[in-house]
């Protein structure tokens, strides 16, 4: 046995800010996005999209268009009259909503696909689209959710004739004695709170390439977050054998939930490629993106909170009306906003009396899909703005309302008023840390008015985030129809290097880095010796993909399980080869050694080589199969992260302009695999949350036209909107997940906008009790609030 000299150190991979292995390609501009893929003979597709929000189509005339010399073929519903129906399993009274891939007799929102034009270039394809003539017979537009719910005189006024009242799902929940709690309350706050319709607006728009080959295989490139489920759905829609389909999402320039929707284009392109036997490409332009990539978060909440004088929250009521657009986007549908939204109403608090109601309404707008934080952004905003107002009415700081109502660290596991089981946390410690870092108490003592004439305001917010979307998590968040377990395969090759095949798929989350860290830690090999495959159904393992703060927990857990199996197999072989007791062996940095006598050692590479090729040294294959791989599944229980945000603003009371001066975030997501990656999630989420809080709103007019379908008018935060974001951590590992890992991706969008709203109320406190009850909070909204105070005083 050869001895190698080395240092046996406790090389920990988990908890280390490893540089992201994804970055070099991105930084060198060598990462491949869908638009970068070029295939021989590839044709391009442009879509004719409806210019009406709600109309019967009486005629589609392709004559002029098909005579254009560049026209290869035009497809409409006459060619392929199929679609998808809401993915419905065990979901209460949900009525399925059918979504055709091509609109047939009726269009239901501006941007809906009517025809697909195939041409040698996108330029020509768009010229040909211009030549298609469509006659529309407009119907009244269902513009406002609460209006859409009112009785209609004629069937064609409904978004879908088969769904009366435009309501396709309702739910009602009550726990405790809500009526009694409201009777006994010292203060009741009741408000209508509105969250705007927003778009995740990722840098890379959607895009699909489909290529059929003569061995009857279909390769599909798509900018998606869920390559495997997309493969399954394409196979189903096209009646094409699933084993012959390969879906590839090489790099994806942002998803944020918007790309875990299966869109008509993802079926139309493969179908056309199959029909034409030519590769076809479609890259969504920004206008199409705003019109037809899932929107999010538009909800109206009628909320009430009952409080005692001392700040104790006695009960909450919330009626949540979600404006979910014309179709229930596949697979989560519009329920992805109101259901999780209502489920997280209790937040970090012990309150046990709670009533909520969910109404999902169809309107003539683009459908709603998931977007970071989903509808939880809206209900947390409602709750926090009501608490902000209650705090002022009771003359108690909101921090003290938090402390009074917090679940204590020795009360876990804790069953909340909405029947979510919180696993762990130390909320007091997290809030203590935030208040100390921000000097919140001191700032609150100082005058609001600055010498510049501006008003300074400080705000905080505390969140509990449900993470690890597996099947149980989805159910605890009110979405019962989803089965979302995942698998991972860990393989060691003859040279002792490790390949991880994951069902997760990172598009910014650095799963290639963090899953390699988990595998290296579990196996005891070097980080550099692990490679992670994801995003390609011919290379990765079947999984649901990356969304809903699930990948660290589910990806990490499944890799941990599989790597642990491989480690056991390797040690069994090592024990035989090294003539040692298996229990005495350990692996560190790619070296197997006997505990206590580190000079008795062999490298993992030597052992792997022996396993594969040396039949004289390895154990009998009857005893131990020479296979160093394992595939494992993981569908974890829900685990809950928590954290807190601080925002300091300066507000100009004459113009309503707000500048953000400081943002601090404290996060407890259990075991941290890679602090830098977690902080990336914190900062990214905060940026998007601030966009939602102060800038973003998709504005439909009464005719159902989207007024701001470009980055000129749909305002996302830019580098100058935000200060540097300060991050801090607390770690209470989860007792219920593999490795104690909790998710963290959506956290900020359950909280930062609330801290911002709280800061606005604080800055305006000299004018009276002024609390914003709608997002976004722009200069107009600020001046309106001040004006209201002026009117109230007169």
């Amino acid at each position: 046995m050869r001895t190698t000299s080395r240092v046996i150190g406790a090389t920990k991979h988990i908890g280390v800010s490893r540089k992201r292995v994804e970055d070099p390609l991105m930084l060198m501009g060598k990462a491949k996005f869908v638009a970068d893929i070029q295939l021989d003979g590839m044709l391009e597709i442009a879509f004719l999209r409806s210019s009406h929000a709600h109309a019967q189509i009486s005629r589609i005339d392709l004559e002029k268009a098909s005579k254009h010399p560049g026209c290869i073929k035009i497809y409409t519903s006459a060619d392929w009259d199929t679609g998808v129906t809401t993915f419905q399993q065990h979901q209460g009274n949900l009525q399925p909503v059918y979504m055709p891939f091509f609109a047939g007799e009726k269009v239901r929102f501006v941007g809906e696909i009517i025809a697909a034009v195939v041409a040698p270039s996108r330029y020509l394809a768009e010229d040909i689209v211009d030549l298609i003539e469509v006659d529309y017979e407009p119907s009244p537009v269902n513009f406002d959710a609460e209006e859409a719910m009112k009785p209609k005189r004629r069937e064609e006024e409904l978004v879908h004739a088969e769904i009366p009242g435009n309501v396709y799902f309702t739910d009602r929940f009550e726990k405790g004695d809500v009526a009694k709690a409201f009777r006994e309350a010292d203060v009741v706050v009741k408000e209508k709170v509105e969250a705007a319709r927003v778009s995740a607006a990722s840098m890379e728009t959607r895009g699909v390439i489909a290529d059929w080959a003569w061995d009857d295989t279909l390769t599909v490139w798509s900018s998606t977050q869920m390559p495997y489920p997309l493969r399954t759905h394409i196979a189903h829609a096209l009646q094409f054998p699933e084993q012959n389909i390969r879906v590839i999402a090489l790099h994806v320039g942002g998803g944020f939930g918007q790309k875990c929707v299966f869109y008509p284009e993802e079926f139309i392109l493969p179908w056309i490629a199959n029909d034409l036997r030519k590769p076809v490409k479609w890259i969504e332009d920004r206008r199409e993106h705003f019109l037809s990539a899932a929107h999010a978060k538009q909800m109206t909440m009628h909320m009430e909170v009952a409080m005692k004088k001392d700040g104790t929250i006695l009960a909450m009521k919330c009626k949540t009306i979600a404006d979910t657009g014309a179709y229930s986007e596949h697979p989560f549908g519009g329920l992805i906003d109101p259901c999780p939204g209502n489920a997280v109403l209790p937040g970090a608090f012990t309150v046990q009396n709670l009533q909520h109601e969910t109404i999902a309404v169809l309107t003539n707008k683009m459908g709603i899909g998931p977007y970071r934080g989903t509808g939880m952004s809206g209900t947390t905003f409602a709750r926090e703005m009501l608490l902000t107002k209650a705090a002022r009415l009771l003359n108690i700081d909101i921090a003290d309302i938090y402390y009074r109502n917090f679940i204590k660290k020795d009360e876990f596991p804790f069953l909340t008023a909405t029947n979510q089981t919180y696993d762990s946390g130390d909320y007091h410690q997290v809030l203590d840390k935030l208040l100390k870092l921000s000097e919140y108490r001191k700032l609150k003592q100082q005058p609001r008015s600055l010498s510049s004439g501006r008003l300074r305001g400080v705000g905080i917010s505390f969140f509990v985030e449900p993470t690890a979307w597996g099947s149980l998590a989805a159910e605890e968040c009110g979405v019962r129809g989803i089965t979302a377990h995942d698998t991972a395969t860990v393989e060691m090759d003859p040279s002792g290097k490790v390949t991880v095949r994951s069902g997760q798929f990172g598009h910014g989350q650095a799963t290639r880095t963090t899953l390699a860290q988990v595998a290296a830690e579990t196996l005891g090999v070097r980080f550099e010796d692990v490679r992670v495959h994801e995003g390609d159904t011919d290379r990765a393992a079947y999984g649901m993909g990356t969304f809903a703060s699930r990948s660290a927990v589910i990806g990490g857990g499944s890799v941990m399980r599989a790597a642990s199996d491989v480690r056991k197999k390797l040690l069994k072989i090592a024990a035989h080869v090294m003539e040692a007791n298996e229990a005495d062996l350990n692996i560190d940095e790619g070296v197997v050694f006997v505990r206590g006598s580190p000079d008795r050692c062999m490298t993992v590479a030597e052992l792997a080589h022996i396993t594969f090729f040396d039949r004289f040294r390895r154990p009998s294959t009857d005893d131990v199969e020479p296979v160093l791989s394992s595939t494992r599944h993981y569908d974890p229980p829900l685990t809950y992260s928590n954290g807190s945000h601080f925002v300091m603003i300066e507000l100009d009371p004459q113009t309503g302009e707000i500048q953000i001066k400081r943002i601090i975030a404290v996060e407890d997501c259990g075991t941290v695999i890679n602090p830098q990656v977690v902080e990336g999630q914190m900062r990214g989420g905060i940026s998007q949350g601030i966009g939602m809080a102060m800038l973003e709103s998709l504005e439909y007019d009464k005719n159902g036209q989207l007024s701001n379908a470009s980055f000129m008018d749909y305002l996302v935060p830019n580098a100058l909107t935000l200060p540097d974001i300060e991050c801090a951590h607390v770690s209470t590992p989860s007792p219920v997940t593999e490795g104690g890992i909790k998710g963290c991706g959506e956290a900020a969008m359950l909280s930062i906008h609330c801290a911002f709203g709280n800061a606005v109320a604080d800055a305006l406190s000299d004018f009276g009790i002024l609390v914003p009850m709608s997002m976004p909070i722009g200069p107009q909204q600020v001046l309106d609030l001040i004006r209201e105070a002026g009117t109230a005083k007169q």
């Binding site: 330029y123 768009e126 010229d127 800038l695 000129m712 935060p717 830019n718 722009g778 107009q780």
Partner: protein, 291 residues
């Protein structure tokens, strides 16, 4: 978002551009920095038949001093004017205002003449032409004329340029000695078109009385506007808070703002007045400090 087909000519000189513009007739458009035209074409909202590209014309003296002011060639990119030491010294208001035009990358492509000819009422440069008494030299095939700023801006995105005319240069007047300036705008984000903006140039005599005033606003009407009544109310007066407040109130007479998805017309009215107070205060303060 791909433009329909068009013909393309690259002009080697302004003379050639004028010739082409005259020869191509209707449907021909000048392409300078392309920062507004190209997106409009991609949205198929503008469908020029012919583009005459003047972005490669290298003219001598992009920014030069002459009696009465600073002349900039229309084809000069905004960033060059912004960073010109001559402009920074003689026309600090212009340099400061240009910094509010979108972002550096856009100012590296967008030209002075292009922004003026585009005549977006919310953009900074047209208003600066009013505040700085600009004169435009216009050219067409075989002819040229000079037009003062007050006569160029007709309405929303429309100028008094003839279809075959090109702006060739702009002469910005240098304010007299003992002048000061102020510029304030409000946008949703840094780099966005202003929701409303106001600028002022104030000149004082030895007794600190105002002898000359310019107030130009943008984003508050179909064109940039000069508030002449407000200007006149300042003449012969020394700075005081009430003087500035009353003068700023007089700008209301020239405002015809509209509501949009960001703010209401009433908001624009109220904020235009606030920004005018700030611009005037800054202008008086700088004029008092000037020699």
């Amino acid at each position: 978002m791909k433009p329909p087909g068009f013909d393309y000519h690259r002009a080697a000189s302004l003379d050639e551009a004028c010739e082409l513009l005259s020869a191509c007739g209707e449907g021909a458009k000048i392409l300078a920095g392309g920062q507004s035209l190209i997106p409009m074409m991609n949205f198929r909202l503008a469908r020029p038949r012919v583009l005459i590209d003047i972005s490669n014309i290298a003219e001598p003296n992009p920014v030069s001093e002459e009696p009465g002011g600073i002349r900039t060639r229309a084809t000069t990119v905004q960033r060059v004017v912004e960073n010109s030491s001559l402009v920074q010294e003689k026309l600090p208001l212009l340099s400061y205002a240009i910094r509010h035009v979108a972002h550096t990358q856009i100012r590296n492509k967008g030209t002075i003449g292009g922004s003026i000819a585009n005549a977006d009422p919310a953009s900074e440069l047209p208003a600066m032409c009013l505040a700085l008494d600009a004169q435009f030299e216009l050219r067409r095939h075989g002819a040229r004329r000079t037009v003062p700023a007050a006569e160029l801006f007709v309405t929303y995105m429309t100028t008094s340029l003839e279809a075959d005319e090109i702006i060739s240069s702009i002469l910005f007047a240098e304010p007299p000695k003992r002048s000061g300036w102020g510029f304030h705008e409000l946008a949703r984000r840094s780099g966005d078109y202003a929701l409303a903006g106001s600028s002022a140039v104030i000149t004082l005599d030895g007794a600190n009385r105002c002898t000359r005033a310019r107030i130009a606003l943008f984003g508050v009407a179909a064109t940039p506007v000069r508030a002449i009544t407000a200007e006149e109310s300042l003449l012969g007066q020394v700075h005081s808070a009430s003087l500035v407040k009353d003068a700023a109130h007089l700008v209301q007479g020239v405002l015809e703002p509209e509501s949009d998805m960001h703010v209401t017309a009433a908001y624009r009215r109220s904020v235009a007045e606030v920004l005018t107070v700030r611009a005037l205060d800054d202008a008086f303060r700088r004029a008092l400090a000037a020699r």
